[in-house]
């Protein structure tokens, strides 16, 4: 933990500590939220909500877990709750379905059409959710295994394995499509 944050927390200056926490963690929290929510606007909203929860709970933070681990756990829970809350209102039948993932990817991708990219995102949508989140986070975090492990609260070896299996599965999924295209 940042020593300055630690000092403010120990002295009960929670508002000052919170200001420093936001500055230090906002980008990582946003990227973690983005890897789960998949849309920028939804990720920003979830990140805001996560920080509101951090603000409420900061006086009760006892330092048993690392501050970052604690903040990322709050962020993950906030995102998953938001996804559960949204589930009945999504117009597509199943938000985890490849079609829904593809639709979300298209919304996120903006107006410029890129069939290859869209196809890859559609294939990515076919992976299990934990593999998708790990992959998105890995590239958001500039290929840092450590950052992914910390954000997802997983051991480093588990993250490496997860990322490897995800990319291997994507290669396997892409092969028949490439054969068809050829």
């Amino acid at each position: 933990m940042d020593p300055e944050i630690e000092q403010h927390l120990a002295a009960g200056r929670h508002d000052r500590a919170f200001d420093l926490v936001v500055g230090a963690y906002k980008d990582r929290v946003f990227r973690l939220a983005l890897s789960i929510m998949k849309e920028r606007a939804a990720a920003e909203d979830a990140a805001q909500e996560a920080f509101v929860r951090v603000w409420k709970a900061l006086p009760r933070f006892d330092g048993r877990a690392a501050l970052g681990t604690w903040i990322y756990a709050i962020t993950r829970n906030t995102c998953l709750m938001e996804l559960r809350r949204r589930r009945p209102t999504v117009s597509l039948d199943d938000p985890d379905s490849p079609d829904a993932q593809h639709a979300a990817a298209q919304i996120a991708s903006g107006p410029a059409p890129d069939p290859e990219r869209d196809n890859l995102l559609r294939l990515l949508g076919q992976l299990p959710r934990n593999q998708q989140e790990a992959l998105r986070l890995f590239y958001l975090e500039d290929r840092s295994y450590e950052a992914v492990a910390e954000s997802l609260g997983m051991p480093l070896g588990t993250v490496k394995n997860l990322l490897h299996r995800a990319r291997k599965r994507l290669i396997e999924l892409a092969r028949p499509e490439e054969v068809k295209a050829a």
Partner: protein, 178 residues
């Protein structure tokens, strides 16, 4: 394109090839894996496929940056929250506790007033009855004295009971509870 699958000895390198592509393999291990790849067409193809997928993913996945006004909006959101937020939880609990105690004190005060009124009424009745009793107890009680004594005692008990009931909120229509 012919599908690449790693079997036998090459399978042992599969994970290492992935780490080689990610540049996270220890230098000595990277040298060993690179030597193997140089002499193994299957592993070379696997590495190329893996690296191509890595490049495609890096290109395809968006990397938006957080909006510049994120902190400003967060601060505004926190300012706009009702006081029952973080540190105010204790204040809310204290306010509820104070209201509860005030209610209890009010009830106790009403009960005390009622009890005192009842006691005064009872004492008053006894004092009022005393001269009559003294006058008549010298002699044996006749019917008239017994009747007067009975009426006085009855009235006293009734007043005392009414006062006690009022004070304790037992009497219908006179409950003091909020």
């Amino acid at each position: 394109m012919k599908m690449v699958t790693l079997n036998g000895a090459c399978e042992d390198y599969e994970f290492d090839v992935a780490e080689l592509v990610d540049h996270t393999l220890a230098p000595e291990k990277a040298r060993i894996v690179s030597l193997h790849i140089a002499g193994c067409a299957r592993c070379r193809r696997w590495r190329d496929e893996y690296a191509a997928m890595d490049t495609r993913l890096a290109h395809a996945l968006p990397k938006p940056r957080l909006a510049a006004d994120f902190e400003w909006r967060l601060a505004a959101r926190l300012r706009a929250r009702p006081p029952a937020g973080r540190a105010d939880t204790r204040a809310v609990a204290q306010r509820e506790y104070a209201e509860l105690m005030a209610g209890l004190r009010e009830r106790l005060r009403s009960a005390a007033v009622g009890s005192i009124a009842g006691a005064i009424a009872a004492i008053g009745c006894v004092l009022a009855a005393m001269p009559v009793l003294i006058d008549h107890l010298h002699f044996s009680l006749d019917a008239q004295a017994s009747s007067a004594l009975f009426k006085i005692v009855t009235a006293g008990v009734t007043v005392a009971a009414l006062a006690w009931s009022f004070g304790n909120g037992v009497l219908p229509g006179f409950r003091l509870r909020r």
